[in-house]
Subunit: 306 residues, 2 copies
């Protein structure tokens, strides 16, 4: 059985006290702060065109474009070339989805194809909803837990939150939640707008592993906007697309067992632990690593965010 | 009007990205990790007896005792001598209260008089309870807010949580909450045991200011165990000791106004903001610094904790 702190470490794989000096910083011309981390192996695989400036002594990779439009085009062309060369396995999953990189004043400084985010180690965003039934007999709650489809590229068949998804450029977290909730659980727009409640963020720096597909050890700092929603007993979430195999009502004890067996994806294990902390299911008296877990789930990132 | 991020910065005054190299590290013989930070002015004011080893090059102050009992005696004698010499204003508030310092395996490695904690910059602990009434007409909640007594040494007359207190050595957070709730708000033990719910921690590194009394700029990293409790409308909290002037039911709008005017103590402003984040009163769509606030309130400390 994995301890809860092991579950956190399995997701937040580069703790705030880790030494980042072996990594290249991703810089953008005109900005003093870094925007992400690249592995040395990533830097040496790219055939950097002229719009990039590398400094192997300072370990920096700088994008030189002076406007958002120019930078977007430079990054897009660079990545298309690498995709066509077949340099990175991760680029084989290419989609039309775009992620935004934000500057110190939250302004968008770059848009980047979603699949390439882990190559540059930029902060990405998502939304996560746990829908629950109030259940006084069982620690107060039972939670609707999705099982990911067997056909998913990342973490097939593992347990997930009720609804979750990545935040694309141009959508606010709540509107993203409304859309994903309809797609993934067949929740009506009205249900989400009247019942879903924001509860903060869960932050971690994941590093890609076998189960995530593609290159190993890439940095993916993430901010997950968390939501919860009490569901009336007559509302049954139903998968509306092919993301989830099924969505099942699980008791707290069943969820604890599944966590301990590693049945949740690393990120969704943390989403559930955050719910447990917020609702007193885990507390100082019953969880030996309470202080560390409660703060690690909300760790700060060293980069500007949205 | 102060922004919510300004309120966080007013409490967490040494952000996780700050450079600690101007500070002395507090070390204990036999342990590799530091346990706190001392200002240079603190180091030069102490007349360190032989049980301490100073290294001005490495900027470390090491306690040499090899057992818990020996270390406790050494620290106690060192501090009594300074108190009698009148070296530090902060030691004038001497009480019998003791705080524990924890090691990497959460074991107690030292007990230290409470008043001296800021001199060594060790992590201290507290409990904070917000009792609320469910109020569908007003954003869902109104909260019982205490006003600190005019006679309090620290932050007299400012706004506070419903119940709060420091965690002394040997008491668990929940038992501390039961005791403080009876003392400060006349809540029955049964009420707290059946209704109060742990919701995580709020962490910050405060630095003492004029309103805190004593020396300025001392480091006080704190972990506050947060609790919330829905109160039936017929339960009215009443100050049971002389800590609070009054405890008043305030609407969310009234609390927001009081926060903006700086009427809460720095720490209790953060406790309220954490409640606002947890319950969706603040969210990404209405708070421009949402991501930073949601994570800073739970920042990690660089020291071992309980």
């Amino acid at each position: 059985m994995k301890s809860n702190l092991e579950l956190v470490n399995d997701c937040d794989r580069f703790s705030p006290n880790s030494d980042p000096s072996f990594l290249y910083q991703f810089l953008i011309n005109g900005y003093a702060c870094p925007f992400g981390y690249l592995l040395e192996s990533t830097v040496s695989t790219f055939s950097w065109p002229e719009c990039w400036k590398l400094d192997h002594e300072q370990k920096t990779v700088k994008l030189l474009g002076s406007s958002l439009e120019e930078r977007n085009k430079q990054v897009h062309n660079t990545l298309v070339a690498e995709r066509d060369r077949g340099s990175f396995q991760i680029l084989e999953g290419w989609t039309s989805e775009i992620f935004s990189v934000h500057g110190p004043h939250k302004e968008v400084v770059l848009s980047i194809p979603r699949v390439a985010a882990p190559l540059f180690g930029i902060v990405t965003y998502g939304v996560q909803l746990l829908a629950y039934q109030s259940d006084p007999g069982d620690r107060g709650f039972s939670i609707w837990i999705a099982r990911r489809a067997k056909t998913k590229r990342r973490y097939p068949n593992m347990l997930d939150s009720t609804v979750g998804g990545s935040l694309p450029t141009g959508e606010t977290p709540f509107e993203c939640l409304v859309r994903e909730s309809a797609e993934e659980a067949s929740f009506s727009e009205e249900l989400i707008r009247t019942r879903a409640k924001a509860c903060g963020t869960v932050n971690y720096v994941f590093r890609t592993d076998e189960r995530a597909g593609g290159e190993l050890g890439l940095f993916t700092p993430e901010v997950q906007f968390t939501y919860e929603m009490e569901l009336p007993k007559d509302v049954i979430p139903t998968p509306g697309d092919n993301e989830a195999e099924e969505i099942t009502l699980m008791s707290i004890e069943q969820i604890k067992t599944a966590l301990g067996k590693g049945e949740f994806t690393p990120a969704h294990g943390c989403i559930v632990l955050d719910f447990f902390i917020r609702h007193g299911i885990l507390n100082f008296e019953n969880e030996k690593d309470y202080i560390e877990i409660a703060s690690r789930l909300h760790r700060t990132h060293g980069f500007p965010t949205a």
